[in-house]
Symmetry: D2
């Protein structure tokens, strides 16, 4: 039973981190902190989550006294100093922000000057399916962005085939966070659907880092729903491939992955709502020879809190499924 703190538990991703840890069979939630709402119980701020702990102001020493590991769910820039303090005090950390995902150059080009670049070297990019081994041994894991998670998982098995890819991605509003803005006002979202951040969305940096292609087109769109993200990916292979090869590529990449579902038809985001699954369907368009990949996740789960716990499980030497699935035949149910 490892003791875990969640830093930034008032936001959507942080609150879900806390809820997952709270219900996790082998983790103990010992502290929740928040920049807003400190003094309130988490279950009063987010009634869907039955976590009665009180949100505290962040204090690195207090957190270190009560926890062996931390999930940090702060915005980029705010996360780095907190992560540094916790590492210094011996905690293992999964950081959900962008602060440790990228090489320094890319980070500073897409975001801002980096205040703790000394930690970048040891940070492991937390795309579990790709970096499982490094994650298991890491002190610091940088949890991927939601768009990159779906897009990279969908494209990796075929990305070597092409020089460029197009990712037309769509996300629910929880990805935009709890801040009340024009963008998140109900009236601007309901009965609406629009592209945003075309060319400029920072998650592009992670695609550039992880995908072995020269040119990436990435256009996010905002869906009028709560949780869910779909990446529709288009790739023109440099040589002809057939359905058998396509299938083999995805099977060999993912057949044994506990959180990847290779779907026989294009998935809807509702299929994976409130789950840590990434559902992927790939096909070759006959008329063009183009490879189409549709990849669906819940942006708060596999795109944030779920993958963070999946990584934390690995860092603590546990079955990565613990706390994330619990049906018969898997650890959460059978182990105890």
């Amino acid at each position: 039973m490892a003791r875990v703190a969640v830093i930034g538990a008032a936001g959507f991703a942080g609150a879900l981190c806390a809820d997952i840890v709270w219900r996790h069979p082998k983790l103990e939630l010992t502290a929740v902190t928040a920049r807003s709402d400190a003094g309130a119980r988490l279950c009063d701020v987010h009634p869907r989550y039955d976590v009665p702990l009180t949100l505290a102001e962040f204090d690195a020493d207090a957190v270190a006294a009560s926890a062996d590991a931390a999930l940090v769910a702060y915005p980029h820039g705010a996360a780095a100093p907190v992560v540094a303090q916790l590492l210094e005090r011996g905690l293992r950390v999964v950081d959900l922000s962008a602060d440790f995902r990228l090489p320094r150059d890319a980070y500073e080009s897409y975001y801002q000057p980096h205040e703790h670049a000394e930690l970048l070297n040891e940070a492991v990019y937390g795309l579990t399916e790709r970096y499982r081994d490094q994650i298991a041994g890491a002190r610091l894991v940088a949890n991927p962005g939601c768009y990159p998670t779906a897009s990279i998982l969908g494209l990796l098995p075929v990305a070597d085939l092409a020089d460029d890819v197009i990712v037309d991605a769509k996300s629910g509003v929880s990805g935009a966070g709890r801040a009340a803005t024009d963008k998140t006002h109900f009236i601007n979202v309901v009965e609406n659907f629009s592209p945003y951040g075309v060319e400029s969305h920072r998650h592009r940096a992670e695609l550039e880092m992880e995908l072995p292609v020269e040119r990436i087109t990435f256009t996010p769109h905002l869906l009028p729903l709560d949780q869910g993200l779909l990446a529709s990916c288009y790739l023109q292979p440099n040589r002809e491939i057939d359905a058998i090869e396509l299938r083999e590529r995805f099977d060999s990449a993912y057949a044994d992955e506990p959180f990847i579902r290779l779907a026989g038809a294009p998935p809807g985001v509702r299929d994976v709502r409130d789950t840590n699954f990434c559902a992927i369907h790939a096909t070759i368009e006959q008329a063009t020879g183009r490879v189409l990949v549709f990849s669906a996740i819940d942006n708060l789960w596999k795109g944030a809190a779920g993958q963070a716990v999946q990584n934390l499980n690995l860092m603590l030497g546990m079955d990565e499924r613990l706390g994330l699935v619990g049906g018969q035949g898997v650890a959460g149910k059978v182990a105890p």
Copy 2:
């Protein structure tokens, strides 16, 4: 570890029953049957639920061979014969239909001739908080309707104070079931909100049975959302009561109830989404002395599948919270 079958697992409530049992720490899901979709895996029909079992045609002997208890999620009329066959074969049954909720007269007046009235005597109305003891010893529990669950729980602590009550109730669309009809067509629901079944909704019969008042006004409305039900209840007390008495009545009724949350403000249905909680807020309107009670549930959970498992837990001698909550300090987490 008791073995459980879910009959009618292709519908919304049945599928959730199967999912809850699948993840339940002390129940084993051994069979799922369905009138439609037989031959398909449950997780292919309802991808949100990670249950890989294959839906079978119903066969009482096969079910009896593999299960000690059953959750039956058939429509009224179709449920009774199946329940009878399972009881005959020695299973304990929670029936989610209306077939065993009412006295014969009321049932036949609101529904249709009863084909298994001989079982009505032993059936226990499964409003857990009211009939916990009888449920624990029952062979057959009739799980309450969604509207009655929220309304009766909200009104019971004060119903003795008045001769009549008004229940203005609103439910999400999952309560209407999987059948594709004009009523459930997306375009008729989205950006819409309307009363329906005014005067004629059959759930009125359960309110009449359970509430000790002479006159009941009950008007359901359809909300443009998936899961969630709110009952706004109005009651003019025969004598003046004050806030202290009101609070004491609810505290004494529910303070120790694991699935009732006495809320300091009117709850939203999102507060209890995907949970088995009933959130209740009661207040006395100063200008009129009227008692207002707002009671929110997830119609698929506390209004159907969640309460069914809560009842099944009791029938099997287990902690009623098992499989329904799992946080630290409660049985699902600590017990094993």
Copy 3:
């Protein structure tokens, strides 16, 4: 062709006022002002409305130079001084705020000290169907609130029969205005439904002013949709009435009203979306003798901008339907 200014045209109700005037066959939109967004074209702030005029800062002299009448869509408190300046300069004004709806005592009890109480005497409450004659001769019309419009129209034909009424009302989010707050954040609204302002909602004051009953229970709820408002009204008559009398009461009140639809079944808010209609269905509940009235409007139309133009038409001596309906056989189509 009368010249009309819209003050506060950046808000939801003000923008719709501008759009209706822009398309009105006998009104000319000559000025639009706004506290925010000044300098932008209205059609860029609200692309749904094809109004290319540029939003200006409010300047009473400039408005008076260009317009004969004004629709003022400011929040309460901010509206009164603007209204006073425009009246002083000879304009006729429909004010959509609460500033001139109530007697001074009621206003100051529900809102704040009144800065222009000298104008209250001549202000006419703009519930068109009730005060049509006074509106026609008025310089200043106080447009009713959205909840009172639906509720009072629904109850007036039967309000003399009872001492108290219950109004369980539900509104879409546009009623909450353009401000980005926790309450209007998409995630707090979607898949949610909750009561708010129980006992304290200020629209209660208008119900108390207009309805001849002693006790009023009024509970607003927030619907997860854009435009639409339903009031479900409950009234226990002091004497028995039958369906014939009920029908006669509504027929004699509304049979000739151009914007009231007496509906054969409970209306949904979608039935009146983007229209100025109020759809009303009344019935007597057999089991209780209680009168149930369901009244649906579009909160931005009949609940705000539509009724404001309806009133302005009357003040200017025009057919009240102009600009609000345009089908064959009505003025908007046939007149020119």
Copy 4:
């Protein structure tokens, strides 16, 4: 004042056709027919539309006796014979189905054997902005599909630059029609978003017909909303072009078009809800040189009924804007 019949006025597109004609300043709606709902008034079937005419069974002679022109809103296959009968009787027809959009080969390959191929020669594809002159003189106009309308309008100014294009398109549910199916069930749509008809959607045929490119990738997705369609289009030019050329191409194509808005930023579908506008934003992605075009329409308006009336206006020698916009300075307001 031309007399117009709407055939198939019980469906979403047909009902809107009837409503637009009803409010049109120079058209008279003289007949509405429907395969379902005959005998009911249109305003009872679609209460949003204030059209009191009664839906009749289709009878070609009766229609011909009362109307000079018809809008036919039947499904493909059912439309052709009705169109043939009406043409025979001297009416001018806009057909909203696919029956006359395509060359025979393409039609029979994507749809079914054609029963009235003799009419294909004279049918004009009703993409107004492209075929305005032919439409003006036509007896029979084949109104384009919703996806092709948005996609082709977005791509035409640049389609000569490339050999292939990708169209990632998203539509609201009204595009799927009134039939109650699993696909249109509220629960399968809300909080969901999914691709459908990948490779197989029949609207691809219109893209192939109209766009001068060799390879087209076209993937429709279903949005959880009522009305609205966005096409995100990707095109890799064969030679480098710059922002100036891009702008000139769109300006020269569309600067004078009354229903095309060249937008400074990617449009949302809400921007054009309930309007006949197509809002287009084009940009060159710096990193790749790729041209991105985002094109938004209301699928029921510019994607169906609105464009049909736009075409009918031209066929009858009227200003094409009549009945579709009505603000100051345009024909609908000033002309009479």
